[in-house]
Symmetry: C2
Amino acid sequence: MICSHPTALERFETKLQDYLDNKGLKQSSQRSRIMRFLLLLPGHFTVQDIARDIQEDSPGIGAATIYRNIKTLVEAGIVRETLVDQDGQMVYEVLDDDHHDHIVCLDCHQIFEFHEEGIEHTQRKMAAKMNFTEASHRHVVYAHCDYKKGV
Amino acid sequence: MICSHPTALERFETKLQDYLDNKGLKQSSQRSRIMRFLLLLPGHFTVQDIARDIQEDSPGIGAATIYRNIKTLVEAGIVRETLVDQDGQMVYEVLDDDHHDHIVCLDCHQIFEFHEEGIEHTQRKMAAKMNFTEASHRHVVYAHCDYKKGV
DNA sequence: ATTCCTGCAAACCTTTTGCAGAGGT
DNA sequence: ACCTCTGCAAAAGGTTTGCAGGAAT
């Protein structure tokens, strides 16, 4: 094995195929192209990020198609919505096994990740105490970078 | 004292006035009317909620004015943005002293509140460990109502 | 007087939708 | 064949902005 990417792509392609079969949907070249592109993007991306990268590659894919497909990918459990960025665009990320939440740097606007099992556990218990069963959550911390202070 | 509301309104009016003075901005009848209306609304509201209530009261205020003023109120620290609802509208709430986060019921779409000091503390520490200083956060838990199960 | 504020309508932006044709099964 | 998918352009929906007149300081 030369590169670790193929395996991930294959895994996701299988998952997508299963979902499509299950729902009686069909595969399309655009669909797999979109997935291949977003797997190459850094952790967090918007529809426009995908559109930009895809357009400069070759013929290009209509924006509507990307919107329609990202929705399918969310339903297939391959991608998830994370937060709305400062421009009002939905930010997505590939849903891999390790769940995490986000810290948005108020200085450079980069998005970082964190995972605190304690928080996960507490929020699950808290929901249960309120007679809810947690399905998902969005936890975003907005913070200033300490390095900025030194300037 | 007959009703407890006046005091809260007064407190917020002072806070707003301070902010306006500080920034060299001016008071307006619409501005205070908007604030009076949103203080009467239940915990969580959108711009459209304010607009609806204000229109049926008397002359009515332009939507743009509400958008512009809610932004001012956010900057003045009287109101905060909490989450985007299912229609894509920003949901606001009055920023009172007791901080809390939100549980959105996936069955009835109502918004509930929770506060877990443990989570607050952990996320603050976690940010610090990553060399950030937490400024704020948005923590929303999406959950199913247990009562639904019994049906 | 100067500067801010409002109202209206137009503009903006992201996302959605309608439709005709292409493509998958 | 049937039904899904794409591409385009138009529509939708929330929010912002430009402008002329009105109000606050």
